[in-house]
Subunit: 221 residues, 4 copies
């Protein structure tokens, strides 16, 4: 299975809303005046407040993704992000097809054949168990690799945090691939908010973990 | 000043998204299949899951309001709702015009004249102080009645909770008026999600506080 | 492996704190006076506000659990509760011993032998992979049944919600067993807060899902 | 009125719990082994993870404060911190005594006399209104300066964020004074967690806002 992520919906004009919110906090302007504001000026305000770390205004911009072709190893990490909303396909109610994620390292190690065999056997046993016990119990034999589908909504501030942590080379490879894909999607519709999104090494030439052995480690901070 | 509330933005197709999310959790369907789903069927699914109390799926629908003509008495209550995002006009940075909310009970008691005088004097003193001390300190004399502007974003689940608490007759009159106006606005764009929104007496013929002396108390539960 | 849960820590005097908080909102009393309050009276206040649904005051009481002998099927559900804090043993960094949870239905169906064999083979393959690929990739073959350890902190309000959902017969059996054990532990140290905790059928003789085919369905509502 | 803040309760052994949580994520140790761990070693682990920015483990340490002698100008800012729990004395139900906060700048400008007079008149009018209208409406004339009491609970991670923002010279003076007092209190009981708490200029020799005109601006970064 291949990772697939789609931006299902997002707040229309979310960047302008965020800029209006920023201006509202420091201005006498009425909502009408804010709304009629100059787009370029609002863009500059938005850029400025994000740079200053005043990220609360971008919480008004909200994004909903559909994700499939990912493992439950990935989603167990994903749902740890608490400022977000999730709807995930249930393994308790939905019978699992034989669909799984294969780590690239396993292919690289020449072990893909064994991996595929293992998966085949596991789903065979799963199907056997399913005839005797509830689906929700049969699934105890299913592997972390098993594919799942999930819908995720996050506001832009929570996304910035997600990208900071999960686009990092230190993040697990599968969720990192997802994070970069999500970043690509939101950059198209909110280019100002996300222009400096990503791991701190790329955006701030800093590494909070000071991981000098990382090949992305900032040399030019 | 008069309460003014506007629905600035909302998730396009938020109800269909929520219904898709509900279906996704219990179905093998792909995202594509879910998206092509029958609208009427999806509406029924949505109605069903809300009735069952499975409200997490409606978190994918997100709403942003601009609110003005409300008192800081109101906003101090409003911002207690934590599953929400706020951007409020600052009294630290923005000089306050003489704009305030007058409680109806004060008019009814024939005390509006005295109220207006008090407000006039307060802003006069505020202006005096402002010449000598920072705006953020001069505002210590400003009343709870002083008007403010605020942008608010909430997802539909958090809104349902907000309407349950704040549309109730037990809620303070000013925030109750706001809540009913907000409910009116979201009902237009998400009629299924909000068709039973409001205080429990109206929606469930029940009163969690069992307030038998309330004129809305359910007689026909 | 057997489910093991321990109450590692909790707010000392959390019930009295919660009752003080309730009284504070409606009283002129100073903190000193509140603290010197009559224990029985405070207990009654606490009982009253919980009954009225004013649960915010019990957020001041906080509980930390250590949980082990549970499957990752369980923790994937557990961490969906967002008003909580989690620290979980990582499968990326820690090599997994052969430890797993066996669903009772599998024993009942006489399939335990096959289950044990499957687990044995899986860990054997896991060990093989581990020699060639990173632990974080080898674990893709590990099953949902694999044991994990996790520390969890929740405030009392979030716990009430957790118990309402997860002590329910509709909840998955493993997390239900955990929920009842946690409830047993907190009842000992906060008997007033948790005296009516649990599924709605037990506490309110109501079923939000109206599951008439459930053997716990309330007959005497 | 004078600001008064008291640490009412906190998680016993919260630092050791946090260190155990940190160790748990990367270790095979059982809970028993973790608990019996060397205190000094656990302290070092805790220091290390905080420095790396892995702050989730300190969410297990929870703190409850009682705050009085503060203005509603302050609490309106305070309750904007959403990862926290609040119980505040209600102006709807509790008649307000004449108690208020006086900004130092007003004393310094020689305007204290006028300020005191204003407050006196305001409460006089408040008392007049109270005879004719509900307390919740009379309070519309009460000033931002009016004193309030509030109980607050936050976990250590949320507190670190609170101290970063509110101990800053850019924060409003009253909430800054509160923040430094709270920091003093928690440092006594959790010295490792809070040893580098405070504004970024003090803790990291950096200013996210790059406020070069600030007298605390870091010269030696």
């Amino acid at each position: 299975m291949t990772l697939k992520v789609e931006l299902l919906a997002y707040t229309p004009g979310g960047e302008m809303l965020s800029a209006m919110a920023a201006k509202l906090t420091h201005s006498k302007s009425s909502i009408e005046e804010l709304r009629g504001g100059d787009e370029k000026q609002l863009g500059n305000i938005l850029r400025h407040v994000i740079k200053m770390g005043h990220e609360s205004v971008i919480e008004h911009a909200y994004f909903t993704f559909a994700i499939s072709g990912v493992s439950r190893a990935l989603t167990h990490q994903l749902v740890r992000h608490r400022i977000a909303s999730y709807s995930q396909q249930s393994q308790r109610y939905v019978e699992s097809e034989i669909e799984y994620v294969t780590p690239p390292s396993i292919k690289a190690a020449g072990m893909e054949r064994e991996y595929i065999d293992t998966m085949g056997k596991l789903w065979h046993i799963y199907d056997e168990f399913r005839e005797k016990v509830p689906v929700e119990d049969a699934r105890y034999v299913l592997p972390n690799a098993a594919c799942t589908k999930i819908m995720v909504s996050m506001n832009a501030r929570s996304l910035l945090n997600f990208f900071e942590l999960r686009c990092c080379l230190h993040a697990q490879w599968e969720i990192r691939a997802l994070a970069w894909k999500m970043l690509g999607l939101v950059r198209k519709v909110a280019p100002v908010i996300f222009e400096n999104a990503g791991p701190p090494c790329k955006t701030k030439h800093k590494c909070p973990m000071n991981k000098k052995d990382c090949r992305w480690y900032p040399m030019d901070g």
